[in-house]
């Protein structure tokens, strides 16, 4: 029963057991062959999910691991998206260069937000980031360069002579990036940096007393988190080929928080599950409405009317009855099967 680790190397291994490796292998194979069986609509949903996974990982590193609440994750997506859009269209920089640059730009602004946040904690930090988000939205809205609320066109992704056109091609690219993001987030989490993050989250003053430089790691957490958001925004911009300020408003930041809370704070798997769930809810509603459209038009009309409320209801019920999120459910199920037929 259970796994026994006899040294630290095993405890911090990327893939802890053979089973994890097998399951991951199956997942990778599934991801590679799935576009052959799925329709274009379903692939486009997977693409959205892939981008959301990258963004949610970033937020989870900040909120779930370091305990810093951010209500402006959407703004960092916006900064990445607009940086890449402007670099590729105004300066003609190719995508492979603008992609990391957009992440770096977002990281730089994230560090600027982090500096005042060294004084702020908990709720006050949340409110400060909320205000920052509104100001970023205001600037994008009113600056001539970003073209206001009608938005601006973005070039399609092309790497050397190969241009990405179809949903399937985007799928491989986005999923590839998402996989890299997951692996590097896992690496950050299991290294010294990740452990410092967790120490800061659990008791920041105690962490400082133990010799973890608080300022350095808080700024680092913000930088890493906004780097993730920036590259997610960049991918989103080039995938949609048109961006407007409305793509990145407060509701996006809220959706990202919902993702990490519903998925499970402070877990990598949780960010992935949460991103899939929250991105999937509106599409699930679409499928539901289509099912009932013919037989119960009244019911499907009601679902459309109550769409926003449904999102709220899912969050409220989950927080009341399953505060650990999807990861908590997964964990319980795992324990249950491991210890079956004994109940602990």
């Amino acid at each position: 029963m259970g796994t026994f680790k006899v040294n630290y190397r095993q405890d911090t291994a990327l893939f802890q057991t053979l089973w994890v490796k097998v399951w991951l292998g199956i997942l990778v194979v599934l991801l590679i062959v799935s576009p052959i069986f799925l329709s274009r609509y379903q692939i486009s949903i997977l693409n959205e999910m892939g981008i959301a996974v990258i963004g949610a990982l970033g937020l989870n590193l900040l909120t779930g691991f370091t305990g810093q609440i951010s209500l402006c994750h959407g703004s960092f997506l916006a900064i990445g998206a607009y940086t890449s859009a402007l670099l590729t269209s105004k300066l003609g920089i190719p995508f492979w260069l603008s992609f990391p640059l957009s992440g770096l730009m977002a990281a730089a602004l994230g560090m600027i937000v982090a500096v005042p946040s060294l004084r702020l904690k908990g709720l006050y930090l949340a409110l400060g980031t909320l205000a920052f988000g509104f100001i970023v939205e205001y600037v994008i809205f009113h600056w001539g360069l970003t073209k206001g609320d009608m938005g601006m066109a973005v070039r399609r992704i092309s790497i050397y002579k190969f241009a990405f056109r179809t949903e399937k091609q985007h799928f491989y690219l986005i999923t590839g990036f998402a996989a890299i993001a997951v692996i590097s987030a896992k690496n950050i989490a299991r290294s010294k940096i990740g452990r410092s993050f967790v120490a800061i989250r659990d008791r920041d003053i105690a962490a400082e007393a133990m010799g973890i430089p608080l300022a350095k790691y808080k700024v680092m957490a913000f930088a890493v988190s906004s780097f993730y958001a920036g590259v997610a925004g960049c991918l989103m911009a080039h995938y949609q080929k048109w961006i407007v300020p409305g793509n990145f408003d407060l509701s996006v930041s809220i959706a990202y928080i919902a993702m990490i809370i519903m998925g499970g704070l402070g877990t990598i798997l949780g960010s992935v599950l949460g991103a899939i769930l929250i991105t999937g809810i509106p599409h699930g509603i679409v499928y539901l409405v289509d099912i009932f459209k013919e037989s119960y038009p009244g019911l499907s009309g009601f679902i459309v009317d109550f769409k926003l409320g449904l999102f709220g209801l899912v969050i409220v019920l989950a927080l009341l009855f399953e505060p650990k999120g999807l990861f908590g459910i997964y964990w319980r199920a795992k324990i249950y099967f491991k210890t079956w037929p004994f109940k602990y």
Binding site: G25, I32, V33, Y41, D149, K241, W242, P245, G246
Partner: protein, 400 residues
């Protein structure tokens, strides 16, 4: 090491798949021998949700009328109404759903200008003709091959308002209060263009953010600039707030507004304060509707509901007019219906008869806006209706 090689080989397999899958070719999406699938994207859940039901009703009514006539070239119209939440993200999802899942041939109506610009690349990539509502000059100039605007834009209507004011009162001092987004700024630019063309200028320009309800600072700016006419490029609540403020200030300045306020909804909202309010709109008031339209609504629509007072009849009719244009294009395209022939068909529309409910429509290869003209109506608070004070008239200010 071993895992790494496994991963590497898997990625290679993926790369192979990437190149091996050919693009699917075949029949035209959304077109069969007996039907054409069209989408109508309106807002049922977002900030523009009050507009959703009347718009969808208008589209359904006209499609029912066409199908009752036997369809177009033997094909019935299959209408897909979808909620787009008016915001860019939700519009994107709705557009993807109707194009990829439902497989519609074209989008006959999409509410919201920011949302429209967000989905233009998607429509381009998938060869979908798109007709946006909440029309902006950018949609026809520089314009896009796939975008057609069967409605006057805010730019056109603001020019019309300024021309109307100057025709009455050549020395008028005009101020404008506009919503600080693409809707209001398009109006601002139209008003500026007309004023410049008529060799005058706007005395004062005051923006407000969407959702603002306290209009006293803007009105104070207007008062300070001592204007005779205030041009309002605002939504209904802000128009109401301005009229309330005007009364509070005891100021008899003349006010003229845009088409989003020319609905009977204004009467229960601000009662007698609406008296004498002018508005520019491309649609004739419901009470003056030509009999062809009335008969059609009686037969295929919900006449009782549409004619009852606060119902926003111009919205209903606007959505119907959009589908009239789209279906005329399909008719002109002939039996061989493809996205390309639809564009040809739409571009060959000349003087499409709208029975006098709004200006007739003309499109062309270089003209993707149906009409530029509009009329001026005045609110009659006692009878709770709008009265035409200046009929449909071509603009003198250049619109291209």
């Amino acid at each position: 090491m071993k895992t790494r090689t496994i991963f590497l080989s898997l990625f290679l397999v993926g790369a192979l798949c990437l190149t091996a899958i050919p693009a699917q070719a075949g029949s035209v999406r959304g077109v069969t021998d007996t039907s054409v699938k069209l989408a109508c994207l309106v807002d049922f859940t977002g900030p523009g949700k009050f507009a959703g039901p009347p718009l969808a009703m208008g589209a359904r009514m006209y499609v029912k009328y066409i199908n009752d006539q036997g369809g177009i070239h033997g094909r019935k119209i299959d209408l897909v109404v979808e909620d787009n939440g008016i915001l860019p993200n939700t519009t994107m999802q709705a557009a993807k759903k109707v194009i990829f899942k439902d497989g519609v041939f074209a989008i006959g109506f999409n509410l919201g200008s920011a949302g429209t610009s967000a989905i233009i690349p998607l429509c381009e990539d998938n060869q979908v003709v798109l007709m946006p509502h909440g029309a902006n000059k950018k949609f026809y100039k520089p314009g896009n091959k796939w975008v057609f605007v069967p409605y006057a834009t805010q730019f056109n209507m603001a020019s019309r308002a300024v021309e109307y004011i100057l025709s009455r009162d050549p020395k008028a001092r005009i101020g404008i209060i506009y919503q600080d987004d693409s809707f209001g700024r398009d109006g601002l630019e139209g008003a500026r263009a007309a004023a410049k063309f008529m060799k005058t200028r706007l005395v004062k320009e005051a923006p407000y953010k969407i959702g603002t309800i306290d209009m006293s600072p803007q009105m104070r700016m207007m008062k300070e600039a001592d204007v005779d006419w205030i041009l309002l490029w605002t939504y209904l609540p802000q128009t109401g707030a301005v009229l309330k403020e005007r009364l509070k200030m005891g100021w008899d300045v003349k006010v003229i507004g845009d088409n989003t306020t020319a609905y009977r909804l204004i009467f229960p909202l601000i009662k007698q304060l609406a008296e004498g309010y002018l508005a520019v709109t491309p649609f004739v008031p419901w009470e003056d509707m030509p009999s062809e339209v009335i008969d059609m609504v009686k037969k295929y629509g919900d006449y009782e509901k549409v004619s009852k007072s606060p119902f926003p009849a111009p919205m209903y009719l606007a959505c119907m007019a959009y589908f009239r244009a789209m279906i005329e294009g399909i008719k002109n395209a002939g039996r061989n219906l493809t996205p390309q022939t639809l564009i040809k068909g739409l571009e060959s529309i000349k003087d499409l008869d709208m029975w006098g409910m709004c200006p007739n429509m003309t499109f062309g290869p270089k003209r993707h806006c149906g009409y530029f003209s509009s009329l001026v109506v005045r609110a009659d608070a006692k009878n709770q209706r709008f009265v035409v004070v200046d009929p449909i008239k071509e603009l003198v200010t250049p619109q291209y």
